[in-house]
C-alpha cells in the first residue's frame, strides 16, 4: 500500500507530496489524485520519493500522463530522493530524461525555484 501526504512550505509556498510505500496498479490512483490536486493548487511542486520502495508502470504512467499539463501550465515539478532501485525503473523507460529528478531535497529546492 501507499501512503501519500502533502505539505505546503510556509516560507517558500512550495507544495510537497510525500510518497511512502509501494505504487502499483492497485494504488496508483492515490498518486494520481494527489498529483491532480497539487497541480490545481500550486505551480511549484516537489515530490519526495525517499520512502518509495516500489513503482510499477501504473505509477510511472501517472507522471507521464501529466507531463504535458505540467509543461503547458508552466509548473515547476521536481522529483527527489529516489532509491537506486526505483530510479532504475524510471531509467528503463527513459523517464529520467523527461522528468526533473534530483538526488536530495537541497537540489530539488534549487530546481523548483
Amino acid at each position: 500500500m501507499v501512503n501519500i501526504e502533502k505539505q505546503i512550505d510556509e516560507q517558500t509556498g512550495h507544495y510537497e507530496i510525500i510518497v511512502i510505500g509501494e505504487v502499483d496498479a492497485s494504488s496508483s490512483i492515490h498518486l494520481d489524485e494527489a498529483l491532480t490536486t497539487a497541480m490545481t493548487e500550486s505551480k511549484h511542486i516537489l515530490v519526495d520519493l525517499r520512502g518509495l520502495d516500489y513503482i510499477s508502470s501504473a505509477g510511472l504512467g501517472v507522471f507521464m500522463s501529466n507531463i504535458q499539463e505540467i509543461e503547458a501550465e508552466g509548473i515547476r515539478f521536481v522529483l527527489f530522493g529516489m532509491k537506486e532501485k526505483v530510479f532504475e525503473v524510471f531509467e528503463i523507460l527513459g523517464l529520467d530524461q523527461l522528468l526533473v529528478i534530483k538526488k536530495d531535497k537541497e537540489e530539488a529546492l534549487e530546481a523548483v525555484k
Partner: protein
Amino acid sequence: MHQFKTSCAKEKLKEIRAFVAETLGNMGVSENECHKIILAVDEVCANLIIHSNQCDASEKLELFVEDHGDHCVIFEIIDHGKGFVYDSYKEPDLEEIIRSRKKGGLGIMLVRNIMDKVEFKIEKNRNICRMMKKF
C-alpha cells in the same frame, strides 16, 4: 518448482510480489536484480488481472517459478481470461503516450526490457505467459 495461486484482484499483486521476492531470494538472486524481475512479473500479472479478467476475483491466476539451474529462472503465468495477443503488440512511442495521456503498453515495455525471453500463447481455454531470465 514453486507455485502460487491467487484470484484476479489488483489487491493480490502485493502478495504475488512477496511470493516472487521470497522465491528469488532463496535462489540467491541479488536484491537489485530481484527488484526488476519482481516488477516484470507484477506487470504481466496486473495486465492479466485487469485486461484479461476485468478484475473478476472469481477468476484464478497461477504462477509457477522454476529454478532452471545455471543462474536461470523460468516463470509461467496461467489464466483463463481473454488472451493477450502478444504478436500484435507494438512498443508505444513515449511522446505519443505523453500527448494522448493514454498509458497503455508501458508495462509490457518494462517486461521486454527486463526479461531475456517473453512468450504468450493461448492454449485451449488457458493463456500461458512464459518468461526466462538469467541472473
